[in-house]
Symmetry: C2
Subunit: 376 residues, 2 copies
DNA sequence: TTGTACGCGTTATCAG
DNA sequence: CTGATAACGCGTACAA
């Protein structure tokens, strides 16, 4: 009797109701379990659902319930040219971790995650369109300027990832730039005793960049060292940008600083490359430090001293905050700061071998211990 | 006159119509540009849209148009324990690349991408739910068994990523496992002259694993070498799994093969670790090879000889195929095979330095050439 | 405990 | 060129 009426279109709640001999309201209740119904009836419905392979249409559900159970994540995409610098490809990893974390948390909260990468062009239309497909959005830093975020956040659940946190117009999740940079300055100046430093920043309009820069310079000064920075020390967040900064410095004939701290790892790598090309050694001639702890940092020679960001946790927290925001259990101006960790390796002058085939000490321990059984 | 009716709920097409003094049909037309309407009218509508910051509700649109303009990607998720082996974390990267590629292609085709990770538990309910939220799904290999994919693919646009391709029940995008493994066997046997080999496979139920295994063994045999494999050479796709395989071999007292090929890079790393712990050297005592070319492969010591998969392209192609499938311009049984590339490095015995601070030759060339201007 | 009927916001088919 | 109006599939008061 299962005629082929509707071969190509999926079964609806009406089909299930008919097959189970009940009304669509009953089907809905059996599926969502809101109201009580006779177990016998419920079974009939569930059987029909199974037989028909019924799956609720999310559009209809969303329209009716005014909730799509989908959140969006908008991130910055690098150009996908084949000739992109190898190192820049590593940048992607940071965003990937965030995506992972967000996906996991979203799913735990009963939401799906929609992702969308944007380029340098104004992302406003993209964000607007996304706001029609989701219940809320996570915006990575730099996707939208502070000025454009404000009106959006006022009308739509929005969480900023690594925003400045200065403008309390939107909920924000970010890392402890201040703590991280203080620790870094203290290590370079206090521990190593470097007195002449420089700081390569990202972009002038980036809150992350300015916070890191200002904190580093201030802390270094407070410890009696001198740190130069400024527009000509702007590396644009990229390896190439930092490489140019250092090459310009070398060309100018001015003396090299004893240590260079960078607002991210990519720039540290670019700076190292420039020094390498000019015949200077890291860390003997110039010490180097980054920020992020991208995976490659521990595989290079010398290994990179940096500040580790909990990137996956960043994504998780952002998603969790967004869901709370959507469900009304979080203030729209909520600010959350995640801790960072100074990771001392070789590029500052401390001894630290590159990681080759050998797994980390923790891994070795696990591999040889009883915990091994749980690993798969 | 813009009273605060509906402060908290977004404007609908009715609000726009009212403000522009037209009907909702006209608004819809102005927005979707299907029919011709007086430029003057169109402008009035567009102005109202802007003033109200109107964004179409995707649920309503999807319900009415029977198309959600969303595709889903389901991938395998590793447990997110902190104590996960470092190396395993790298596995994530392969999936991340696929996600990137898929997102990019989806967006180019006018679709959004919904992502969902699944664990070892049966993914059927998850996939079912996702089929209600999307117009089609990309399923990474191992998410669903071939047996369960068939009925789904028959009723819902589905593209398999790296599936066997044996069962023509679903459209499939995969890499050229055969070509890759032939090249690898030819290199190890033909070039290096190894005669006693072993192959560590993933899982017996994985098409990728069996194809790679069978091809490698067959090619090696054809070239006059001997290659052992089988259930006891099953590394479960993980470092730990492969480590156990090698440790069991060492414990058995049987002679070591001269070279070990693995079905993926993680297992090559696990095998290397086991050899390292037992005091054997790679490649002097035992040569090693992987498959995938995960980023870490080029940073290790010795660097890993492997077969590179175009992971990002895999995601792109899958998304493009899925869209074509949805829009009816692709046969539901379409099979696509992407080329792979043998990457000869150090672990097979060929000379190859680890990549440290130094960028690749291509990068160096670009950094010093005129193309530099285009890089940012 | 279960059924009826309305509303959710769009698109698209008719008339006009 | 534009305006009514009927689906689209589901949740849910309100009735029974």
């Amino acid at each position: 009797m299962e005629a082929n009426e509707g071969v190509s279109s999926p079964p609806t709640i009406y089909d299930v109701a008919e097959r189970a001999g009940v009304s669509i309201a009953t089907v809905s209740r059996a599926l969502n379990g809101h109201s009580y119904l006779r177990p016998e009836t419920r079974d009939r419905v569930l059987t029909a659902v199974r037989e028909l392979r019924y799956v609720a249409n999310a559009s209809a559900r969303g329209l009716s319930s005014r909730s799509k159970r989908v959140i969006g994540l908008v991130f910055m995409r690098l150009p996908m040219w084949d000739d992109l610098l190898d190192i820049e490809q590593e940048t992607l990893l940071f965003t990937d971790s965030i995506i992972r974390g967000a996906e996991f948390a979203a799913q735990e909260c009963g939401y799906s995650l929609l992702i969308r990468g944007v380029g340098d062009a104004d992302a406003t239309p993209v964000v607007a369109a996304l706001s029609g497909q989701t219940d809320g959005l996570i915006l990575q830093d730099r996707v939208l300027s502070d000025r454009k975020v404000a009106p959006l956040a006022k009308r739509f659940p929005t969480v900023l990832l690594s925003g400045s946190g200065r403008s309390r117009t939107a909920a924000t999740v970010r890392v402890d730039n201040v703590g991280g940079m203080q620790a870094m300055a203290e290590h370079l100046v206090g521990h190593h005793g470097f007195r002449e430093l420089a700081f390569i920043g990202g972009r002038a309009d980036s809150p992350d960049s300015t916070t890191r820069s200002e904190t580093f310079v201030a802390t270094a000064s407070a410890l009696g060292a001198h740190c130069v920075t400024g527009p000509e020390w702007n590396g644009d967040w990229t390896s190439v940008g930092a490489l140019r900064v250092v090459q310009a410095l070398l060309a100018s004939g001015r003396p090299l600083p004893r240590a260079i701290a960078c607002a991210n790892d990519q720039m540290a790598i670019g700076a190292a490359h420039a020094l390498h090309l000019a015949g200077y050694r890291v860390p003997q001639d110039v010490a180097l430090a980054g920020f992020d702890d991208i995976p490659i940092a521990r595989h290079m020679s010398p290994t990179l001293t940096t500040v580790r960001q909990p990137s996956q946790q960043l994504g998780r927290t952002a998603a969790e905050s967004l869901v709370a925001l959507i469900e009304g259990s979080l203030a729209p101006s909520h600010q959350e700061v995640l801790p960072v960790e100074l990771v001392v390796r070789g590029s500052c002058g401390c001894a630290a071998p590159a990681l080759g085939w050998e797994p980390s000490p923790a891994s070795v321990e696990r591999l040889n211990g009883t915990a091994l059984e749980n690993v798969r």
